[in-house]
Structure formats: C-alpha cells, structure tokens
Symmetry: C2
C-alpha cells in the first residue's frame, strides 16, 4: 500500500492515515447502522467549451477520503468503520486520451481506503451494507451563505436518509486539527512564507502587481508542489491596499507599483487540499517612510498583542477587541487619533480603520467551516457581526490573526460627517494618509495547550523587512 | 476615451476598436430592427465556499464586447449599430471590499462602447430600442457537445425572441480573424513560444513534470501578462507523452522526469481572451537518441508537408492525410513500418499512431468555434470523424498544425491482433518503442492569401533543439 501521497522530491509526504484517522474520528461520533455518503466534486467546463477548470476537490470529501479526482462518491459504514470509495467506470478509450485505466485495487492502494467499487455499483453496495439510515451532508456555510451539496444518486429514494445529523459533527471535527493535519498546515504555511519572501525580494517600483503574484504562484507550485493557491491572490499596491478583496476580475492586480507605495500582498498556497493564508505588507522600495512605519507598527503591535494573549479558553471576540485596542492606542500615540480608546471602540472608530474581523478558522477551506455551529456562540449583533467566528479558542484550532489598518475614502468620509466618530480623529494628520492604502499583517497560528504556535515565517518587524529586502539571504 | 487595453509595460496594447470592428461586422450581416442580446459569464464559487475561480469571460461575449468582468449583458442594436453594455449595479459597500465604484461613463471609456446602463435597466432600455426581434445565441459546440448559453433576463417574455439566426453568423465571423485579432494572436503565440523556450532551458532529468508547467505559467503571466492559460497544461514525459490529454486531476503532471525521457509539453497562454496552443517535444536531457530522432523527424516531416501545402482552397481533411502520409513514409524509411503507405491509410494504420486530427481552428477558444457550421462540409464518417473541422481553408483562418506519433499500448495491441493492420508493422522494431510515449509538434498558423504564416517561434529541428538546450542564448 502506498502509505503516503506527495508531489515528489522536496515536498511533504502526507500519510494516507491522515484521512483514515478522520474517518475513525467521525465513526466514533456516530452509531452503528448509520452509513455516511458524500459526493465528490465534478469537473466544470468553461461555458459550452471542452476546456475545463483545473479540478479542485470539495473540502468535506477530501477530509473524509483524501481523493483528488472528480466524479467519485465515498461511503463510511459506521458499524464496521470501513471506508468505501466509488470511482467512475471509464470506457476503454479513456486510456488513449486520459491515461492508464486503474483497477479498483490500484485505487485502493493509491488512497489507502478499505474498499473500492464503481459509481454504478453505489446503490447495490449500500444495499449490501444494510444501513438503518444514510447520513448525507447539508448545512450552511456561514461565510458564503451557501449550502453544502448533498449527495444524490439513482436509487437514493430506496433508503432512509437523514441530512441533519452529519453536518454539525463533521464540521466540528474539521475545526480541531489532528497532529497529521497540523503537519500539512505547517508545511503549506512554510512554503507560502517562503513564496512571500521571494516576492519581497522581487518587488520593486516599476513592476506590475500581477508580476509579484506570478512569482508567488511559481514558488508555491514549482518549489512547494502546490498546484493551487487557496484563493485569488490579493496584490494591492498604493491605494489598492485599501480594497480588501482586491485581485478579482474587475481589479485584477494590474496597477504599476510606484516608488513610495506600500504593498499589501495576501496570498496562500494549497497542499493536499490544506490552505495557507498569509499577508505581508511592506514598502515597494524596501525602505519605510516615517508615515508608513507608524501605520505598520500599529498593526504589528495589534498582531503581537493577540499572539501574546491567545490561548485555550479565550474568546475570539475578545481577541478582536484586543487587536483593535492595541492598534488604536498606537495610532493615538502616533498622533492620528485622540481621546479615550474605549470610547473610540464604543463609537465604532475601530471599524472605520479595520472594517474586517481579526481572522478566521483555517484548514481545508481558507475560511474554514465551524465558525458558527449550533453549539457555539452565535454571530454577534452590531459591530462584531462581521467576525467569521465568535468561538472560544481550543487546542488544535488553526486561525489567521490578521489585524489591519486602512484608509478607505468612503469610510473616512462617513466618520468625518459623524460627530460621534469625527471627534477622535486628528483630521489634519489622517487626511495626509488618504491614498496611502493600508497595512495588513496576517499570520496563520495553531492554538496549543499553552498559547499559540505561529506557522508563518516571514520578516515582520520594520528592521527585519528593510534588512531582508536589502540583503535577502540574511533572514532566517 | 481609453483607446486600448493592455497588461502594462511590455505587453500588447489591444485596440478597443478590435471589438467595435467585430460589432460592425456582425451588424452588417443582420437587419435593422434586430437587436442582439448576449449574457456574459458569472463568477463561480468553489462548491459552497466564498472562494471563487479566477473569472474568465465567455468567448462570444468577449468577441462582441471586450468586457472582462462578470455579471454583464451586451446588446447590439443593428439599426443604429450602437453597442449597449449593461453592468451590475453595485452597493456602496462594494467600495470597501472590492474597489472603486465606477460610473457608467467610466465603463464607457474603459471598454469603448457606445452606451452603458445597469443590468436592472436591461428590459427598459431594450424596450426603448423598439426591436422587431431580439436575437439570442443558441447553438452546438461541436467539440464539447454542449450548447451556448442563451441570454435570459426578467421581462424577456415581453419581446419577440429568435435564437436561431445569430449563432451561425457570429460563429462564422469568429472563424475569420480581423487584422487586429491577428495581431493579438501573433502576440500570444510569441509569448507562448518564449515560455516554451524557457521551459526547454529549465527542463532536465530529476525535475517533476509540473515544475516545467510552473515555469511556463510564470513566463506567460509575469512576462507576457497572460493571467490565464488557454487549457490545462499537458506536461507529459516518458510514456505519459502517449496520454493525449495528460495533465488533468487524475494525471496531474506528477511524474519525475527521467534521463532518456522524451518530453511532450502542450501549453498555450491566453491574452485578452485569445488563445495560443503550442506543443514542443524534446529529449529531457537535451540530446536525441537515434530512436527519438527517428520519431521526431517523422512528425516534423509531417508538419513541414502541411506548412508547405496549406493555403486557401485546400481541404483540411486533405491536409490531415498529407500529414499522415508524410509521417508513415518517414517511419517506413526508418524501418518501423513496411508496405504501401496508401494501403496503410486504407487500413487505419495512421489512426493507430496518431489517433487525433491534424489540428483545429484557434481563436478566443482553443478549440475555436466554426468547425462544422451548417454551410460547411459535415463531419466525415469513418476514420476522419475525429477531425475538429473538415473545412476548406480561407485567408484569415487560424489553425493549429499538430501531427503526432504515439506508442499507445492499447492501440498497438489492437493493431497487432488485427491482421489487416498488423502486416504493416515491423513488430520487432515497434515493440522497442513501447514505453517511449510519443511526439507531437504543434504550430499555430494563419492562413494567408499565399499560404501560411507560422506564429510559432521555437527550436524545431533536431539540431536547433540540441543547440538551444545546450546554449540557450543562441537561438533566434
């Protein structure tokens, strides 16, 4: 049996037992007689053409099966603990166009599952397992508002099906990472950190933003074996750094980087389905101005405050406010703000400068599942409603810590016209920062028994960044 | 008015008049009172998550509008010749997350269209044009078997709609490229050629196939401004070169390249929507063995024969057979085959060694539309049925010329067991080539008044390849 999967020399060997462990953890939460059935992803064509998007497997399906190809189903028989993979039955002609036809036995070895059948046998194999009930997956993704796609197959109406039991259990299991999953996350964060470092060395005024994106993609893939990145790269320079989801089709990283710009590059690789999500902010020319330094260090101060305080038992909402407080305090010292920091927060000044939440769960999805499960604190009302989770931290959680400070014209104008907020700003200073863009510092951290372990290894202090961009090789 | 679109310094400035010309060409084929309505592409989420695929616009929509972002409609009023773009009306909050809210006037300048409205005004604007009939797009894609997605919007039932008139006209217009389109194709073929050359310099035994893919992607994007490639890269080495559509999720360019392998790399960039599609075959270690040379030169001989004979008036089916004949002749000389070449073709030996057609139309889709339109020769019966077109060549057509020779175990075994085919093979020689993989040489060519102009600039002869891989800088 192939006991591992990897992308070759120098890349991480992922033990197939990672997925077997996931199956065992799930079976332990369920009852004999229950059979879990998940349907994997399908290829997607570009419109009516015969060109297809590069396939990416659905995250719950990866979690349970480790299977990387389209058109499959997976069943976990809770009673026996056995995992059954169902693969498409391909015509002989497949071999001419698509590659070797693999036997069920070969698939068994590749993915380390107990049994392999063809998809057209699904109904009959499930019948033979004689289940009391099939458990399918259905539940809300609280980041997108979309719903997980339930398995469907011909003959499913001959079974008793329950689509409510599985979702909260499997989502919760995904929140707490196993040691094997943590190793994959450590790897993809390291590769992504290294890729960010390559980008920092490459960046200079006169390049287009997307050229930096390309350097990142190339390092992740060529060196780290990451065929995918976890999300569309956000490569904002100058005032684009204040566009939080920059990089999409209407703003596709196509500005010329100018001398004096800050760069805000939010990019993360994906390995074996697992996602990194890292942001580096740095001056395009390698040397901070005093103005840039002030904002950057305010955000770094916020990051440090969270890293110091985050540990099991702490509420994520409190961490968010810890970050906000630290940043506002620093900006007040720097002369941008005035007045009492708690009063600023009561009046929403934190949300003007950082409209987004502190971070989110991270795993097989970049905005990983489990943020608002039924047994967890509900989404807060009011200014904290944007947070992607309000949970209490637990060992084994992986999260991003990503405070930011942005000068967003529409929000600043709103604050200026709102006396309860306007009073906290020194507008002569703040208005100088219009066009500045913003700064975000985003680390990927594991919650341990003691506190956090940071999986992000990039130059972070002003001195580290300046030093690294001047003499790359010296940074460890 | 911004008269061009480009990806910045060093990349091609595409005149917006390219799309205006397309609209004019279409209007000339239609009647006053007709209003063409196309619906552009939408963003696609990864399953139920909030991560989206990097957007790629639908090809007919690009052709008519040049518009690169999702959620739009386009109407061409044949009577006035005016192009109306409809863009989504975005909430103010968009500006915080996604970037500056653009006015209709700004969109007008960006895309060089006559009028811009919001999508929610579509019904009313169309009413105001007082059309006799709306022409929507519906017709078969003969490569995929799928159907073009017809425009739909609320209120369309208040109009008379015809979905038959438009398709054959617009598809035919896409077949014959304008001078401006030819310049874009020339550019994207040049960038893709250069990227292939970078790959050839980078390739060596001990690398993984996908590392070569990454070099290609990086060059196309970073140097050429191609955010997309036209199709999933096929990077086959050794026997993977005999898998014609290698590179997909179940065979994702993950073999270690060995000393002695031939590489078959089929990859093409995409710029402004226009697709290149180029294949280079070369020895991983830079030096052909005699066996490799024999197969390579047979394929090159086939390519040369087509390039020499292709010109307006010639049937593509004849070009296919010209390539087959040249290759079989060469393989016969080399001792792999015996007997009469015409008899080989009658008995399907050509289809054993090259199961695919000679090439295809090329443009906004890599397998471009128009292969089998109603006014064209129908898909042949029998062995030529795989050809993606059977058309007579015309000036302004762009096609790939891509003969290949593959040693595909299943097909060779079939031939060996079929006396009418087996008689033509010297099996002691042919069996030595099992595991060899294959060779394909794919050029992108324009049909001119006189013959062809080749847009592909890569080392092609054995001497050129060996020389280039040994001393890269010397190839022009």
């Amino acid at each position: 049996m192939a006991a591992t999967w990897s992308m070759g020399p120098g890349t991480l060997e992922v033990p197939l037992s990672l997925f077997a462990t996931n199956r065992r953890r799930l079976a332990e939460k369920l009852k004999p007689g229950q059979v879990v059935v998940l349907q994997g992803g399908e290829d997607i064509n570009h419109y009516d053409t015969d060109v297809q998007y590069v396939f990416r497997q659905e995250a719950y399906f990866i979690w349970l099966s480790g299977v990387r190809e389209p058109g499959c189903y997976f069943a976990l028989d809770v009673g026996t603990g056995k995992g059954h993979l169902f693969v498409p039955r391909l015509p002989e002609e497949y071999e001419v166009w698509m590659g070797k036809l693999l036997s069920c036995n070969q698939f068994k070895n590749i993915y380390g599952v107990d049994e392999v059948h063809y998809v057209d046998e699904l109904r009959n194999v499930l019948k033979s397992l004689n289940p009391d009930v099939l458990l399918t997956l259905s539940g809300p993704n609280t980041d997108s508002g979309l719903t997980a796609k339930e398995a469907v197959f011909e003959g499913i109406d001959e079974f008793k099906v329950n689509n409510e039991i599985l979702f909260p259990i499997i989502a919760e299991l995904r929140v707490i990472k196993t040691p094997a999953e943590i190793e994959v996350m450590r790897y993809v964060c390291k590769i992504s950190s290294d890729a960010h470092k390559q980008v920092m060395l490459h960046t200079k005024p006169g390049l287009m933003e997307y050229q930096c994106e390309s350097v990142f993609l190339d390092h992740c893939y060529r060196v780290g074996g990451c065929r995918h990145v976890s999300y569309t790269c956000i490569c904002g320079s100058g005032d684009n750094a204040a566009t939080l989801h920059y990089g999409h089709a209407a703003a596709p990283n196509t500005k010329l980087i100018q001398n004096g710009d800050m760069c805000l590059f939010d990019m993360g690789g994906n390995y074996a389905g697992y996602a990194a999500d890292i942001t580096c902010s740095f001056p395009a020319n390698g040397k901070f101005t005093e103005d840039q330094k002030l904002i950057y260090e305010a955000v770094l101060f916020a990051r440090d405050a969270v890293i110091k305080e985050a540990k099991p038992g702490v509420m994520w909402t409190d961490m968010h406010l810890t970050a906000n407080r630290a940043m506002l305090e620093h900006l007040k010292k720097g002369g941008l703000l005035k007045g009492d920091v708690e009063e600023m927060i009561k009046n929403g000044v934190n949300g003007i400068l950082q409209p987004h939440g502190l971070g989110h769960l991270l795993g097989l999805d970049v905005h990983d599942v489990g943020g608002y499960l039924p047994h967890c604190p509900p989404r807060p009302e009011g200014p904290l409603a944007r947070l992607r989770t309000a949970r209490r931290l637990q060992p084994g959680m992986l999260l991003t810590v990503e405070p930011g400070c942005y000068f967003i014209p529409r929000l600043l104008d709103g604050a200026k016209n709102n006396p309860s907020q306007a009073q906290f700003f020194n507008w002569d200073v703040v208005d100088k920062y219009r066009g500045f863009g913003g700064v975000r510092i985003e680390d990927d951290v594991l919650i341990t028994e003691e506190g956090v372990e940071n999986f992000t290894f990039v130059p972070r202090t002003v001195a580290e960044i300046e030093d690294f961009m001047a003499n790359g090789a010296n940074f460890k």
